[in-house]
């Protein structure tokens, strides 16, 4: 097994609020990890520390064997160019899609390869076609984001992130802003990526989806990992009261009954 991402003792403090209190996770290649936790438990902050949308207060991020930042005199210094390079290898999908409204679907997907990776025209075009086809939206290439449904927009956002051909993908509540009838198509797309072996960290409130897609589930509580394990271990046989209470609050989710043998 190769470790794609190693999150080591990450702390994040906003003002006098410590949101992450020492998080350690190793993510193996092709692993799909689902992160669960109550609102405010630090799920988004954790994802955002991985690609340095937020700079961790302390701790280390190691991506594909390379430690981010230089340690000098006990302080870690991050340089913008290094962080930008890191971000090209970490794909992020947002709750509100954040597509570029002034670009067509195809231009949205080509933007990263073109502007950031400086790919030539043929390569940009190849990637746009490939990843738009992958999310089933090749036929919408020339449309603008405002002409698409929410579910389609989110699939374009996924294609945009994939076009960078990242080492790992981060999803922060990718379906929370969608009408219920549009959630399925996005989850289906994410599921396909998981099946193809993409390495992923997924924050979601869809427990049924978590159960089917995850190799491992982390339960976050007040900035710490309270419990982790296989979907069955965490979602069906939780050990911690915090996890049990959280699951009770999601009553509509029907898990397989615990086996009594």
């Amino acid at each position: 097994m190769t470790t794609v991402l190693s999150i080591q003792n990450i702390h994040k403090i906003f003002g006098d609020l410590e949101v992450l209190k020492g998080i350690d996770v190793n993510v193996e290649k092709s692993e799909t990890i689902v992160i669960l936790g109550a609102s405010g438990s630090g799920k988004s902050t954790l994802l955002r520390c991985i690609n340095f949308m937020e700079v961790p207060t302390s701790g280390r991020i190691v991506l594909s064997g390379k430690t981010i930042g230089k340690e000098t005199a006990g302080k870690v210094i991050y340089n913008e160019a290094e962080l930008n390079a890191l971000r090209t290898r970490v794909g992020m999908v947002f709750q509100h899609f954040n597509l570029f409204p002034h670009m067509t679907v195809r231009e949205n997907v080509m933007e990263g390869p073109r502007t950031v990776l400086k790919c030539d025209k043929d390569e940009c075009g190849r990637r746009a076609s490939k990843y738009l086809d992958k999310v089933g939206l090749g036929w919408k290439s020339e449309a603008y984001p405002s002409q698409l449904s929410g579910g389609q927009q989110q699939r374009v956002a996924i294609a945009r992130a994939l076009a960078m051909e990242p080492d790992i993908m981060l999803f922060d509540e990718a379906t929370s802003a969608l009408d219920p009838e549009l959630v399925g198509e996005v989850l289906e797309t994410i599921k396909e990526l998981a099946d193809e072996g993409m390495t992923m960290l997924i924050v979601t409130h869809e427990l049924g989806f978590a159960y089917t897609v995850a190799d491992r589930v982390l339960f976050l509580s007040e900035g710490r990992i309270l419990e982790q394990g296989t979907p069955a271990e965490v979602l069906v046989y939780p050990k911690q009261d915090g996890t049990k209470n959280f699951l009770k609050g999601h009553g509509s989710f029907r898990l397989p009954e615990p086996k009594l043998d």
Binding site: N51, M53, E80, N84, A85, L86, R87, T88, V90, G91, M92, F94, H96, N98, L99, F100, P101, H102, E111, G112, T115, V116, L117, R160, A161, M164
Partner: protein, 221 residues
């Protein structure tokens, strides 16, 4: 009052007035182009969180927004040459005053335009690995410029009117030429009426254009 209007004296001086009109347009275009270009830089600096960029640009904007343009033009023509080694002619003094003023106002338009873009757009660019400059040039400005266009057009209209202030330092734009002609021909009524009509003829179409554009934007929602 049975004043007999006589526009013959205006036609006789057509050539002088055309030169004036030409100078007016030159002054307006030069100040508009420079003002919008440098305004972008000052506006971006105003938006920056870096104090070395923020404070000087803010001081600049506030000084030029909160003093009369006429004072600025007079200052550059009469005061600036005394305290600096530069010779300054009327055109340069007027252009400096009006350009700096346009920079200050357009900087605010840029800043507000940039601010109106949702922060998710910055984040999307950043998450792709874009530098700040790339986020600004590829994502933020192309979206915000569209929202700025009516404000810029209003600024251009203001600027066109303000060029007449350059007449006080004897720059030969339309207003100054009119003043010269009217003192020679004793026809201030016809002369200044003509000047007003010329300005109106140039500016009114722009005003209509701005209104059309704003209505269209509103329809789009």
């Amino acid at each position: 009052m049975d004043y007999l209007w006589d526009f013959q004296s205006i036609l006789n001086n057509k050539q002088l007035l055309l030169i004036g009109l030409q100078n007016t347009l030159i002054l307006a275009v030069v100040c508009l182009v420079l003002g919008l270009a440098f305004g972008a830089i000052v506006g971006i600096a105003r938006y920056s969180r870096n104090p070395i960029l923020y404070w000087p640009s803010t001081a600049f904007v506030e000084v030029f927004r909160n003093t009369p343009v006429l004072v600025q033009i007079m200052w550059f023509f009469f005061a600036f040459p005394i305290i600096s080694p530069f010779e300054i002619n009327a055109f340069t003094a007027a252009a400096l005053g009006l350009t700096l003023n346009t920079i200050a106002f357009s900087a605010e338009i840029y800043r507000a335009g940039i601010q109106s873009i949702h922060k998710g757009q910055w984040e999307a660019g950043k998450a792709l690995g874009m530098s700040y400059t790339q986020q600004m040039s590829r994502v933020i400005l192309p979206q915000s410029i569209r929202r700025m266009i009516p404000a810029f057009m209003n600024r251009a209209i203001e600027l066109m009117k303000m060029t007449s202030l350059a007449s006080v330092i004897a720059y030969g734009e339309l207003m100054y030429q009119a003043k010269v002609v009217s003192t020679i021909e004793f026809n201030p009524i016809e002369m200044y009426t003509t000047v007003a009509l010329i300005f109106f003829a140039i500016i009114f179409p722009f005003t209509l254009l701005v209104q059309r554009y704003e209505d269209k934007q509103r329809e789009k929602g």
